[in-house]
Protein backbone atom coordinates (compact mmCIF):
# COMPACT_ATOMS: atom_id res chain seq x y z
CA UNK A 1 0.00 0.00 0.00
CA UNK A 2 2.12 2.86 -1.27
CA UNK A 3 -0.52 5.48 -0.77
CA UNK A 4 -0.64 7.17 2.59
CA UNK A 5 -3.65 9.08 1.39
CA UNK A 6 -6.78 9.74 3.33
CA UNK A 7 -9.03 6.73 3.45
CA UNK A 8 -12.27 8.50 4.19
CA UNK A 9 -13.55 8.80 0.65
CA UNK A 10 -16.42 6.35 0.27
CA UNK A 11 -15.63 3.43 -1.93
CA UNK A 12 -11.84 3.99 -1.98
CA UNK A 13 -11.18 1.66 0.94
CA UNK A 14 -14.65 0.50 1.75
CA UNK A 15 -17.35 2.14 3.81
CA UNK A 16 -16.87 5.83 4.58
CA UNK A 17 -16.93 5.03 8.29
CA UNK A 18 -13.89 2.75 8.08
CA UNK A 19 -11.12 4.28 10.16
CA UNK A 20 -7.60 4.29 8.75
CA UNK A 21 -6.04 1.92 11.26
CA UNK A 22 -8.45 -0.88 10.32
CA UNK A 23 -8.43 -3.02 7.19
CA UNK A 24 -12.09 -4.08 7.08
CA UNK A 25 -15.41 -3.02 8.60
CA UNK A 26 -15.58 -6.38 10.32
CA UNK A 27 -12.21 -5.86 12.00
CA UNK A 28 -13.40 -2.42 13.12
CA UNK A 29 -16.63 -3.80 14.52
CA UNK A 30 -14.97 -6.71 16.33
CA UNK A 31 -12.38 -4.35 17.76
CA UNK A 32 -15.07 -1.99 19.02
CA UNK A 33 -17.00 -4.83 20.61
CA UNK A 34 -13.95 -6.27 22.34
CA UNK A 35 -12.92 -2.78 23.44
CA UNK A 36 -16.33 -2.04 24.93
CA UNK A 37 -16.32 -5.36 26.79
CA UNK A 38 -12.85 -4.65 28.21
CA UNK A 39 -14.27 -1.33 29.42
CA UNK A 40 -17.26 -3.13 30.95
CA UNK A 41 -14.84 -5.40 32.81
CA UNK A 42 -13.35 -2.29 34.39
CA UNK A 43 -16.87 -1.27 35.36
CA UNK A 44 -17.48 -4.69 36.93
CA UNK A 45 -14.41 -4.24 39.10
CA UNK A 46 -15.32 -0.60 39.79
CA UNK A 47 -18.76 -1.44 41.20
CA UNK A 48 -17.20 -4.62 42.55
CA UNK A 49 -15.30 -2.80 45.28
CA UNK A 50 -18.62 -1.50 46.61
CA UNK A 51 -20.14 -4.96 46.47
CA UNK A 52 -17.21 -6.22 48.52
CA UNK A 53 -17.78 -3.57 51.16
CA UNK A 54 -21.45 -4.53 51.22
CA UNK A 55 -20.76 -8.26 51.62
CA UNK A 56 -18.15 -7.62 54.33
CA UNK A 57 -20.34 -5.37 56.46
CA UNK A 58 -23.52 -7.33 55.93
CA UNK A 59 -21.73 -10.46 57.15
CA UNK A 60 -20.60 -8.61 60.23
CA UNK A 61 -23.78 -6.66 61.04
CA UNK A 62 -26.69 -8.73 59.70
CA UNK A 63 -29.27 -7.25 62.04
CA UNK A 64 -28.40 -3.65 61.30
CA UNK A 65 -28.42 -4.28 57.57
CA UNK A 66 -31.78 -6.01 57.69
CA UNK A 67 -33.26 -3.21 59.76
CA UNK A 68 -31.93 -0.54 57.43
CA UNK A 69 -33.02 -2.39 54.31
CA UNK A 70 -36.50 -2.66 55.74
CA UNK A 71 -36.87 1.13 55.43
CA UNK A 72 -36.56 0.96 51.64
CA UNK A 73 -39.72 0.71 49.56
CA UNK A 74 -39.71 -2.68 47.86
CA UNK A 75 -42.48 -1.72 45.45
CA UNK A 76 -40.57 1.27 44.15
CA UNK A 77 -37.45 -0.84 43.77
CA UNK A 78 -39.34 -3.56 41.92
CA UNK A 79 -41.03 -1.05 39.64
CA UNK A 80 -37.63 0.48 38.87
CA UNK A 81 -36.26 -2.97 38.09
CA UNK A 82 -39.11 -3.56 35.65
CA UNK A 83 -38.58 -0.12 34.13
CA UNK A 84 -34.91 -0.89 33.45
CA UNK A 85 -35.75 -4.27 31.98
CA UNK A 86 -38.16 -2.53 29.62
CA UNK A 87 -35.45 -0.06 28.69
CA UNK A 88 -33.09 -2.93 27.85
CA UNK A 89 -35.76 -4.31 25.55
CA UNK A 90 -36.26 -0.96 23.82
CA UNK A 91 -32.48 -0.61 23.45
CA UNK A 92 -32.24 -4.04 21.83
CA UNK A 93 -35.15 -3.14 19.57
CA UNK A 94 -33.46 0.08 18.50
CA UNK A 95 -30.50 -1.98 17.27
CA UNK A 96 -32.88 -4.44 15.64
CA UNK A 97 -34.38 -1.54 13.73
CA UNK A 98 -30.91 -0.54 12.54
CA UNK A 99 -30.26 -4.09 11.37
CA UNK A 100 -33.53 -4.02 9.42
CA UNK A 101 -33.01 -0.50 8.05
CA UNK A 102 -35.92 1.06 9.95
CA UNK A 103 -34.67 4.62 10.51
CA UNK A 104 -37.76 5.90 12.28
CA UNK A 105 -37.83 2.78 14.44
CA UNK A 106 -34.32 3.47 15.67
CA UNK A 107 -35.28 6.95 16.76
CA UNK A 108 -38.51 5.78 18.39
CA UNK A 109 -36.89 3.07 20.46
CA UNK A 110 -33.94 5.24 21.45
CA UNK A 111 -36.36 7.90 22.68
CA UNK A 112 -38.35 5.27 24.56
CA UNK A 113 -35.15 4.06 26.22
CA UNK A 114 -34.36 7.61 27.28
CA UNK A 115 -37.89 8.04 28.62
CA UNK A 116 -37.70 4.85 30.66
CA UNK A 117 -34.31 5.89 31.98
CA UNK A 118 -35.78 9.20 33.05
CA UNK A 119 -38.65 7.42 34.81
CA UNK A 120 -36.10 5.35 36.73
CA UNK A 121 -34.24 8.47 37.81
CA UNK A 122 -37.51 10.14 38.79
CA UNK A 123 -38.43 7.26 41.07
CA UNK A 124 -34.95 7.35 42.58
CA UNK A 125 -35.32 11.07 43.23
CA UNK A 126 -38.53 10.37 45.13
CA UNK A 127 -36.78 7.69 47.15
CA UNK A 128 -33.84 9.96 47.97
CA UNK A 129 -36.23 12.71 49.09
CA UNK A 130 -37.88 10.19 51.37
CA UNK A 131 -34.51 9.27 52.87
CA UNK A 132 -33.76 12.92 53.54
CA UNK A 133 -37.11 13.35 55.26
CA UNK A 134 -36.53 10.39 57.54
CA UNK A 135 -32.99 11.56 58.43
CA UNK A 136 -31.52 8.43 56.94
CA UNK A 137 -28.73 10.31 55.19
CA UNK A 138 -25.43 9.62 56.98
CA UNK A 139 -23.83 12.59 58.62
CA UNK A 140 -24.55 14.98 61.41
CA UNK A 141 -28.34 14.79 61.13
CA UNK A 142 -28.61 11.01 60.89
CA UNK A 143 -31.26 9.36 63.02
CA UNK A 144 -32.38 5.77 63.05
CA UNK A 145 -35.29 4.42 65.02
CA UNK A 146 -35.60 0.68 65.34
CA UNK A 147 -38.92 -0.67 64.22
CA UNK A 148 -40.98 -3.67 65.14
CA UNK A 149 -39.17 -6.93 64.60
CA UNK A 150 -35.71 -5.43 64.77
CA UNK A 151 -35.09 -4.81 68.41
CA UNK A 152 -31.34 -4.40 68.23
CA UNK A 153 -31.04 -6.91 71.04
CA UNK A 154 -27.98 -8.60 69.54
CA UNK A 155 -26.43 -5.39 68.31
CA UNK A 156 -26.29 -2.54 70.82
CA UNK A 157 -24.78 -0.24 68.21
CA UNK A 158 -27.42 -1.02 65.62
CA UNK A 159 -28.19 2.60 64.79
CA UNK A 160 -24.53 3.40 64.06
CA UNK A 161 -24.14 0.29 61.97
CA UNK A 162 -27.16 1.18 59.86
CA UNK A 163 -25.21 4.23 58.77
CA UNK A 164 -22.85 1.85 57.00
CA UNK A 165 -25.80 0.46 55.05
CA UNK A 166 -27.06 3.89 54.12
CA UNK A 167 -23.58 5.09 53.14
CA UNK A 168 -23.26 2.13 50.81
CA UNK A 169 -26.84 2.61 49.59
CA UNK A 170 -26.17 6.19 48.55
CA UNK A 171 -22.75 5.54 47.00
CA UNK A 172 -23.94 2.46 45.09
CA UNK A 173 -27.20 3.86 43.80
CA UNK A 174 -25.63 7.26 43.29
CA UNK A 175 -22.85 5.79 41.17
CA UNK A 176 -25.44 3.75 39.28
CA UNK A 177 -27.58 6.83 38.68
CA UNK A 178 -24.53 8.73 37.43
CA UNK A 179 -23.95 5.98 34.89
CA UNK A 180 -27.61 6.20 33.85
CA UNK A 181 -27.35 9.95 33.33
CA UNK A 182 -24.27 9.55 31.17
CA UNK A 183 -26.05 6.81 29.23
CA UNK A 184 -29.11 8.98 28.65
CA UNK A 185 -26.94 11.81 27.41
CA UNK A 186 -25.21 9.51 24.92
CA UNK A 187 -28.56 8.10 23.81
CA UNK A 188 -29.72 11.64 23.14
CA UNK A 189 -26.85 12.20 20.73
CA UNK A 190 -27.47 8.84 19.08
CA UNK A 191 -31.16 9.62 18.59
CA UNK A 192 -30.21 12.83 16.86
CA UNK A 193 -27.70 11.11 14.56
CA UNK A 194 -30.18 8.32 13.89
CA UNK A 195 -32.81 10.82 12.84
CA UNK A 196 -30.23 12.26 10.43
CA UNK A 197 -29.88 8.83 8.89
CA UNK A 198 -26.40 7.94 10.02
CA UNK A 199 -27.13 4.32 10.93
CA UNK A 200 -28.15 1.43 8.70
CA UNK A 201 -27.68 -2.30 8.28
CA UNK A 202 -24.02 -1.89 7.26
CA UNK A 203 -23.00 0.47 10.02
CA UNK A 204 -24.51 0.99 13.44
CA UNK A 205 -21.52 0.39 15.72
CA UNK A 206 -22.23 3.27 18.13
CA UNK A 207 -25.69 1.88 18.75
CA UNK A 208 -24.32 -1.55 19.56
CA UNK A 209 -21.60 -0.17 21.83
CA UNK A 210 -24.02 2.08 23.71
CA UNK A 211 -26.36 -0.88 23.94
CA UNK A 212 -23.68 -2.93 25.64
CA UNK A 213 -23.11 -0.11 28.13
CA UNK A 214 -26.83 0.31 28.78
CA UNK A 215 -27.41 -3.39 29.35
CA UNK A 216 -24.50 -3.46 31.73
CA UNK A 217 -25.97 -0.65 33.80
CA UNK A 218 -29.17 -2.71 33.87
CA UNK A 219 -27.23 -5.73 35.16
CA UNK A 220 -25.74 -3.68 37.98
CA UNK A 221 -29.27 -2.79 39.09
CA UNK A 222 -30.31 -6.45 38.77
CA UNK A 223 -27.86 -7.15 41.56
CA UNK A 224 -28.38 -3.97 43.55
CA UNK A 225 -32.12 -4.54 43.85
CA UNK A 226 -32.14 -7.82 45.84
CA UNK A 227 -29.08 -6.86 47.88
CA UNK A 228 -30.36 -3.46 48.97
CA UNK A 229 -34.14 -3.85 48.99
CA UNK A 230 -34.98 -7.46 49.68
CA UNK A 231 -32.83 -8.04 52.75
CA UNK A 232 -35.37 -7.02 55.30
CA UNK A 233 -38.38 -7.91 53.20
CA UNK A 234 -39.50 -10.75 55.40
CA UNK A 235 -40.42 -10.71 59.01
CA UNK A 236 -37.55 -12.18 61.05
Amino acid sequence: MASLADTHTPGAHGHSSLQHQFDTMEQQKESSTLGMWVFLVTEIMFFGGLFLAYVAYRTRYPEAFAAASHTLDVTMGAVNTAVLICSSLTMALAIWCAQTNRRKGIVLFLLLTILLGAVFLGVKAVEYADKFEHHHVPGASFQFHTEGGHTGAEDPNLAQHTQLFFSLYFVMTGLHATHMIIGIAILGFLAFYAWRGRYDREYHNPLEMTGLYWHFVDIVWIFLFPLLYLLGAHAS
Binding site: V41, M45, G48, G49, L93, I219, F223, P226, L230
Partner: protein
Protein backbone atom coordinates in the same frame (compact mmCIF):
# COMPACT_ATOMS: atom_id res chain seq x y z
CA UNK B 1 -20.48 -9.90 13.04
CA UNK B 2 -22.79 -11.86 10.79
CA UNK B 3 -26.37 -12.11 11.85
CA UNK B 4 -26.96 -15.64 12.91
CA UNK B 5 -30.72 -15.46 13.22
CA UNK B 6 -33.35 -13.99 10.96
CA UNK B 7 -34.84 -10.67 12.09
CA UNK B 8 -38.11 -12.38 13.01
CA UNK B 9 -36.33 -14.98 15.15
CA UNK B 10 -34.24 -12.27 16.84
CA UNK B 11 -37.36 -10.28 17.64
CA UNK B 12 -39.06 -13.30 19.12
CA UNK B 13 -35.99 -14.05 21.25
CA UNK B 14 -35.94 -10.51 22.61
CA UNK B 15 -39.60 -10.65 23.62
CA UNK B 16 -39.17 -14.04 25.27
CA UNK B 17 -36.11 -12.90 27.22
CA UNK B 18 -37.97 -9.74 28.23
CA UNK B 19 -40.89 -11.73 29.61
CA UNK B 20 -38.54 -14.10 31.41
CA UNK B 21 -36.77 -11.18 33.06
CA UNK B 22 -40.05 -9.73 34.32
CA UNK B 23 -41.19 -13.10 35.61
CA UNK B 24 -37.91 -13.62 37.45
CA UNK B 25 -38.19 -10.16 39.01
CA UNK B 26 -41.67 -10.99 40.24
CA UNK B 27 -40.37 -14.30 41.59
CA UNK B 28 -37.51 -12.78 43.50
CA UNK B 29 -39.82 -10.32 45.25
CA UNK B 30 -42.22 -13.12 46.20
CA UNK B 31 -39.48 -15.38 47.56
CA UNK B 32 -38.04 -12.53 49.58
CA UNK B 33 -41.30 -12.10 51.45
CA UNK B 34 -41.00 -15.59 52.93
CA UNK B 35 -38.37 -16.46 55.49
CA UNK B 36 -36.22 -19.29 54.18
CA UNK B 37 -33.30 -18.41 56.43
CA UNK B 38 -29.95 -18.61 54.70
CA UNK B 39 -31.61 -19.87 51.51
CA UNK B 40 -33.10 -16.43 50.88
CA UNK B 41 -29.68 -15.12 49.90
CA UNK B 42 -28.89 -18.11 47.75
CA UNK B 43 -32.17 -17.95 45.84
CA UNK B 44 -31.97 -14.18 45.40
CA UNK B 45 -28.45 -14.41 43.98
CA UNK B 46 -29.33 -17.38 41.79
CA UNK B 47 -32.20 -15.45 40.26
CA UNK B 48 -30.03 -12.35 39.82
CA UNK B 49 -27.32 -14.39 38.11
CA UNK B 50 -29.89 -15.98 35.80
CA UNK B 51 -31.27 -12.58 34.84
CA UNK B 52 -27.77 -11.25 34.23
CA UNK B 53 -26.95 -14.25 32.04
CA UNK B 54 -30.09 -13.70 29.97
CA UNK B 55 -29.15 -10.07 29.40
CA UNK B 56 -25.54 -10.92 28.59
CA UNK B 57 -26.20 -13.79 26.23
CA UNK B 58 -29.18 -12.39 24.37
CA UNK B 59 -29.46 -8.63 24.70
CA UNK B 60 -25.71 -8.13 24.61
CA UNK B 61 -25.25 -10.76 21.87
CA UNK B 62 -22.39 -12.47 23.68
CA UNK B 63 -23.79 -15.75 22.37
CA UNK B 64 -22.63 -14.65 18.90
CA UNK B 65 -19.45 -12.88 19.93
CA UNK B 66 -15.82 -13.82 19.36
CA UNK B 67 -13.94 -16.05 21.74
CA UNK B 68 -11.92 -13.09 23.00
CA UNK B 69 -15.10 -11.24 23.93
CA UNK B 70 -16.57 -14.23 25.74
CA UNK B 71 -13.34 -14.75 27.64
CA UNK B 72 -13.24 -11.08 28.58
CA UNK B 73 -16.79 -11.16 29.96
CA UNK B 74 -16.06 -14.31 31.93
CA UNK B 75 -12.80 -12.95 33.30
CA UNK B 76 -14.54 -9.84 34.60
CA UNK B 77 -17.06 -11.68 36.72
CA UNK B 78 -14.52 -14.27 37.80
CA UNK B 79 -12.17 -11.56 39.02
CA UNK B 80 -14.93 -9.96 41.07
CA UNK B 81 -15.61 -13.34 42.64
CA UNK B 82 -11.90 -13.55 43.45
CA UNK B 83 -11.88 -10.13 45.11
CA UNK B 84 -14.89 -10.91 47.26
CA UNK B 85 -14.00 -14.54 47.93
CA UNK B 86 -10.44 -14.08 49.11
CA UNK B 87 -11.18 -10.97 51.18
CA UNK B 88 -14.05 -12.75 52.88
CA UNK B 89 -11.58 -15.49 53.90
CA UNK B 90 -10.08 -12.86 56.15
CA UNK B 91 -13.41 -11.52 57.41
CA UNK B 92 -14.84 -14.94 58.08
CA UNK B 93 -11.71 -16.18 59.82
CA UNK B 94 -11.28 -13.04 61.89
CA UNK B 95 -14.05 -13.91 64.27
CA UNK B 96 -12.91 -17.47 64.73
CA UNK B 97 -9.30 -16.58 65.46
CA UNK B 98 -10.27 -13.87 67.90
CA UNK B 99 -12.48 -16.31 69.79
CA UNK B 100 -9.69 -18.80 70.38
CA UNK B 101 -7.61 -17.97 73.47
CA UNK B 102 -3.86 -18.31 73.02
CA UNK B 103 -2.57 -21.14 75.18
CA UNK B 104 0.92 -21.77 76.44
CA UNK B 105 2.36 -18.65 74.86
CA UNK B 106 4.23 -16.19 77.03
CA UNK B 107 5.14 -12.71 76.03
CA UNK B 108 8.89 -12.50 75.36
CA UNK B 109 10.89 -10.72 78.01
CA UNK B 110 13.69 -8.48 76.71
CA UNK B 111 17.12 -9.83 77.52
CA UNK B 112 16.01 -13.44 77.90
Amino acid sequence: MAEHDSPEKTLRTYILVFVALLVLTFATVLVARINFGAMNDVVAMAIAVTKALLVILFFMHVRHSTRATKLTALAGFFWLALLIGITMLDFKALGKIMDVPLQGVEAPVPGK
